[in-house]
C-alpha cells in the first residue's frame, strides 16, 4: 500500500469516527464539538481531492459558522434535552440500522461502478475562462458560466433571513438579535475581539480579491468578515443592529440587486441575462462581487445571531 493511500485511509477513518461520534454522543454539546472537528477533517479530504475552494468554504461555513450556530443552540437547549430520556425501542433501531446500511451499500455500489471515462466539463470551462478575465476556473463557473445558480443562492440566503426574522414574537420586531455571550465581560475575549478583526478584515478582502485567480472568493471572504463581526458582538463590544433599521434592509438586498441589475443590463449589452460584455467581464464581476460579499457577510452573521428579541427602552 502506498504512503498516499494509507494517509487517505487514515483521514477517511478519522472522518467517519468524527461523524459517528456526532451521531452517537450522549450529550448534544459533545456531539456538536464532534461535528466541528468533522468539518475540519473533511476539509482535509477536500484538499486531497484538489478542491481547494471547497475546502476553504467547508472550513469557514460548514465547520466554523454552522458550529457556532449549533453550539449556541445546544447551550440554550441543554436543560430541555436533559429531560429527554426515552430512546426508540431496540427493534426499531436495528431496522433503521439495516435500512441505512442498505442505502450506504447501494450508494457505494454506484461509486464502484462509475463509468471509466468520467464525463467532465473541465475542458469547456477552461476553454471559455479567458473570456471572463478570471484565472480561477471555479470562480469562473460561479460568477459567469453558472451565475444564475449563484444569484439564486443569494436569494435563498435573504429568504432564510426573512424566515428567521419572522419567527420573532411581535414585540421583537423593534428589537435586535441577541447572541449568547457567556464571556461578554471578559478582558481576554475583548482583547481578542480588538486585535483579531483588523487581521480578519485584511484576510477576508485578500480571499475575495485573490479568488479571481487562486482559491478563495466572495463566499469564503464574506464568511471571515462575518466571523469577525460575530466575535465583536460576542465579546460585548458592540450590539447587533435593530432589524428595523433602513440601512440594514438596504444592505441585505444590495448584493442580489446589484447582481440582478448587471444581469438585466447584460440583456441589452451582451445579448443574454447575466451575460457580461467580453472586454469588461472581469471588472463587472468584481463590481458584482464587492456588494455581494458585504451582503453575504451581513446575512451569514445575522443568520447565526437569530431572530430579534424585544429590548428594553426605545
Amino acid at each position: 500500500m502506498s504512503f498516499e493511500l494509507s494517509y487517505e485511509l487514515l483521514v477517511g477513518l478519522l472522518v467517519l469516527t468524527a461523524a459517528a461520534w456526532s451521531v452517537a454522543a450522549r450529550d448534544t454539546y459533545s456531539a456538536t464539538v464532534g461535528f466541528v472537528s468533522y468539518g475540519l477533517l473533511i476539509a482535509i479530504m477536500w484538499m486531497q481531492l484538489q478542491a481547494f475552494d471547497v475546502a476553504l468554504a467547508e472550513v469557514a461555513i460548514g465547520s466554523g459558522l454552522t458550529g457556532l450556530l449549533l453550539l449556541s443552540a445546544a447551550a440554550r437547549l441543554r436543560a430541555a434535552e436533559a429531560r429527554v430520556t426515552s430512546r426508540p425501542p431496540v427493534m426499531l433501531r436495528i431496522v433503521a440500522a439495516l435500512a441505512c446500511t442498505a442505502v450506504s451499500v447501494s450508494i457505494a455500489a454506484t461509486v464502484l461502478r462509475l463509468p471509466e471515462s468520467a464525463p467532465s466539463l473541465a475542458g469547456a470551462a477552461v476553454g471559455a475562462l479567458p473570456a471572463t478575465g478570471l484565472g480561477n476556473p471555479v470562480n469562473g463557473v460561479l460568477m459567469a458560466f453558472r451565475a444564475f445558480d449563484t444569484l439564486l443562492e443569494k436569494v435563498v440566503l435573504v429568504l432564510s433571513l426573512v424566515g428567521v426574522w419572522s419567527l420573532a414574537p411581535e414585540p421583537g420586531w423593534s428589537g435586535r438579535p441577541r447572541l449568547l455571550h457567556p464571556f461578554a465581560d471578559d478582558g481576554v475575549l475583548r482583547f481578542l475581539a480588538r486585535t483579531l478583526p483588523p487581521i480578519g478584515l485584511l484576510f477576508g478582502a485578500h480571499l475575495m480579491w485573490n479568488g479571481a485567480d487562486e482559491p478563495g472568493g466572495a463566499f469564503q471572504g464574506a464568511t471571515v468578515l462575518a466571523a469577525m463581526w460575530l466575535l465583536v458582538l460576542m465579546a460585548g463590544l458592540g450590539e447587533a443592529p435593530r432589524i428595523r433599521e433602513r440601512w440594514l434592509r438596504v444592505a441585505v438586498v444590495a448584493g442580489p440587486m446589484t447582481f440582478i441589475t448587471v444581469g438585466l443590463a447584460g440583456i441589452g449589452v451582451a445579448g443574454a441575462f447575466l451575460a457580461y460584455p467580453e472586454p469588461h467581464a472581469k471588472s463587472l464581476i468584481l463590481f458584482v462581487e464587492l456588494p455581494m460579499m458585504l451582503t453575504i457577510a451581513l446575512v451569514l452573521a445575522l443568520l447565526v445571531a437569530g431572530p430579534p428579541e424585544p429590548t428594553a427602552g426605545p
Binding site: 477517511g12 460548514g62 434535552e81 426515552s86 433501531r93 461509486v111 443568520l303
Partner: protein
C-alpha cells in the same frame, strides 16, 4: 483501489451514518446535525465525481466544485432556519423534541 474511490465509499458511509441519526434520535437538534452529515456525504460524492472529471490540465472538474460551494452555503441557510424554528418551538414550550412530555404539556402555550 484509488484514493478517489476510497473517498466515494466514505461519502456513502456518511450518508448512512447521518440517516441513522436522523431516524433514531428524537432530539431535534441531533436530527439537524445528522441531516448535515447526510448533506456533507452527498457533497463528498460530488467531489469524487469532480476529481474523476480531471481534464484540461486541471485536477478536477470545476463545475461540480462550484455546485458544492453553492450547496454548502444553502445547507447553512437551511440549518440556520431549522435551528431558529427549533429554538422558537422550545420557547413556546415544545421542549427539544416533537413529543410533548406529560409534565410539560399545557404549561406554556405559544402567544396567540
Amino acid at each position: 483501489m484509488s484514493p478517489t474511490t476510497l473517498f466515494g465509499l466514505c461519502g456513502a458511509a456518511l450518508v448512512g451514518i447521518g440517516l441513522y441519526g436522523l431516524l433514531t434520535d428524537s432530539r431535534l437538534l441531533r436530527k439537524i446535525i445528522a441531516f448535515n452529515l447526510v448533506g456533507s456525504g452527498v457533497f463528498l460524492l460530488f467531489g469524487v465525481i469532480a476529481r474523476r472529471g480531471a481534464a484540461a490540465e486541471l485536477f478536477g472538474d470545476p463545475v461540480p466544485q462550484a455546485l458544492v460551494i453553492t450547496g454548502i452555503v444553502v445547507a447553512f441557510s437551511a440549518t440556520a432556519l431549522a435551528v431558529a424554528l427549533l429554538l422558537r418551538l422550545h420557547e413556546a414550550g415544545g421542549g427539544a423534541t416533537f413529543d410533548t412530555p406529560a409534565d410539560e404539556a399545557g404549561v406554556k402555550r405559544p402567544d396567540p
